[in-house]
Each structure stands twice: as structure tokens, then as C-alpha cells.
Symmetry: C2
Subunit: 129 residues, 2 copies
DNA sequence: GTTTTAATACTAATTAATTAGTAGTTTTAC
DNA sequence: GTAAAACTACTAATTAATTAGTATTAAAAC
């Protein structure tokens, strides 16, 4: 039996750009991915090479339709962002999410009122369950 | 008059490792940085090259003591982490901090009660001023 | 069924990032 | 003052990441 090792390795920029689109579309042919890319769009083969790398790393899977492959994420966006955040919070907030929260609470960008709103929304959401 | 353009560019891994130490120490000679590095420690000259790159990019400054330079951060950790978070939240939470917090609130790691405590502490702190 | 189109695999070239060697200079130790 | 040590600048080599060309084959169009 083979257990999938959850060894987190950050995506490179090119890989992440592709994954963002794949997470959005759910499944896509290379052509679809290129279409979703902002200008200047990369060459079809560039995306093809990179998605092959992602497939080799088992970050995406694919189904073949004739000659063409339709790709889909094997790593979920939530899982990836959770792990990325964890790394980040570890490095920048001593591993404490509370510190992260209070950092933003102190920030001008986001007001206390706003945070209170978020919290009360959250409480409502939870109590509904 | 020259205005410092705050053009955020993520640090590379090697650069970030150095900055983490510099943010921790406040100011340091290359030797000190190497000392702080975990095993396997990089070569002195590797750090020297990388910190020169950081100096060229005006991410660190330095004072000369004879032949040796003592380096210090020009970019503050808070600023860097704020910008990194902003990028991240943009990409993974549609730019909404509320979504970020609710994401973590759903996680077992951090409870709403905990967040409320932080917020009320903050309000107290503010009203004291 | 032949031609055109679309797709991937494979390969190779380029650029970015990382590492560390060599040379030369200042400082320190004696 | 001379030798050794410490330090940086400059250079070069290596590795990682990115890009895209060429060859080939399957599918689609006719």
C-alpha cells in the first residue's frame, strides 16, 4: 500500500499561474488554460511543458480524450493555501494565527468595526449549523 | 527629489533566509548571519554575494567599520509581510480578509472566542490612548 | 483517403537564482 | 614591519526555472 506523502513544496510562479486557472475551471485542456491566461499569453508549448511537470509531481491529473488531455487539480486550492499560510505564519508571526489576526487588526487597511462584523458573521454561520 | 518606489517584489528563498536573520538581529556582519544560519551553513561568500544583491536592490543598508560592513534592513518585516499577505489574500481569498479569517476560523487551530478576545484587547488598548 | 489542423513528447536554449572560488586589500597579531 | 587572518569584490560555474522549437501522431475536414 502506498500512502500519498503530503510533502509540501511551494509551486513555482509558472506552476502557480496554471494552478490558479485549473482551480478556477475545475478541469481544462491546455488550450483552455492558455485562453484564461492574461496577456502576454505564454506559448501553448510552454503551458504544455509546465503542466507535464505538474502531472509528474502528481499535482494535477488528467483524462485522455483521443489525443488531447483534460487536466484537473489533484491538490486542492484549500489545502495548498492552508499549507502556504502555515509556512508564512510560521516565518512571519511565530506560528501564531492570533498574531496574524492582531497584526491586521492594528493595520489601517482593515478597521476594528470591520473585524467585528466578520466575527459576528462567522458566529452566525456557525450557529446555523 | 527622489521618492522611494515601493515596488513589491517577492524575495527569493536565499534572500529571504538572510532577511529573516537580519530582521531578528537588527544589524549584523556577514559572519553573524552565517552563525545564525541552520546547518548546513552556506559559504561565507554565498551570503556575501546575496547580501550584496539585497543592498543593490536597497532592501538592506550598511555601515562600514573599517573594511567590514554591518548590514541592517531597509525594508521592515512588517511591511514585507503585509505586502506578501496582500498578494496572497488576493490570489487565494479573492482579496477579502474576511474570507481569510473565516477560512482559519473554520480550522480547528483558532477559535472565534480567541479572535474576539484579541479584538476586545485591542479596543481597550486603543481607548487608553 | 488525403490534407489540414491540433495535440503532445521530446529536446534544447535561455534566463534566473544560487553557490562558491580567486585575487586583492585591510586589519590584527606578533 | 611582517605574517596571518578576515573581509569584500569580482568572477565564474552550477542548478533551477522558464520558454519555446521540432518531430510526430491523432483527429478533423474535406
Amino acid at each position: 500500500m502506498t500512502i500519498k506523502k503530503a510533502n509540501y513544496k511551494p509551486l513555482t510562479k509558472a506552476e502557480e499561474d496554471i494552478m490558479q486557472i485549473l482551480w478556477k475551471l475545475g478541469k481544462a485542456f491546455i488550450k483552455d488554460i492558455v485562453d484564461e491566461m492574461p496577456e502576454p499569453k505564454p506559448h501553448y508549448n510552454t503551458v504544455s511543458t509546465n503542466i507535464k511537470i505538474l502531472a509528474d509531481k502528481e499535482i494535477v491529473g488528467f483524462e485522455s480524450f483521443g489525443k488531447a488531455n483534460r487536466y484537473y487539480p489533484l491538490v486542492l486550492k484549500d489545502d495548498y493555501s492552508r499549507k502556504t499560510m502555515k509556512q508564512f505564519v510560521g516565518k512571519y508571526f511565530g506560528g501564531s494565527y492570533s498574531e496574524l489576526f492582531s497584526f491586521f487588526a492594528k493595520d489601517k487597511d482593515i478597521s476594528i468595526t470591520e473585524l467585528e462584523k466578520i466575527l459576528s458573521d462567522l458566529k452566525n454561520e456557525n450557529s446555523k449549523k
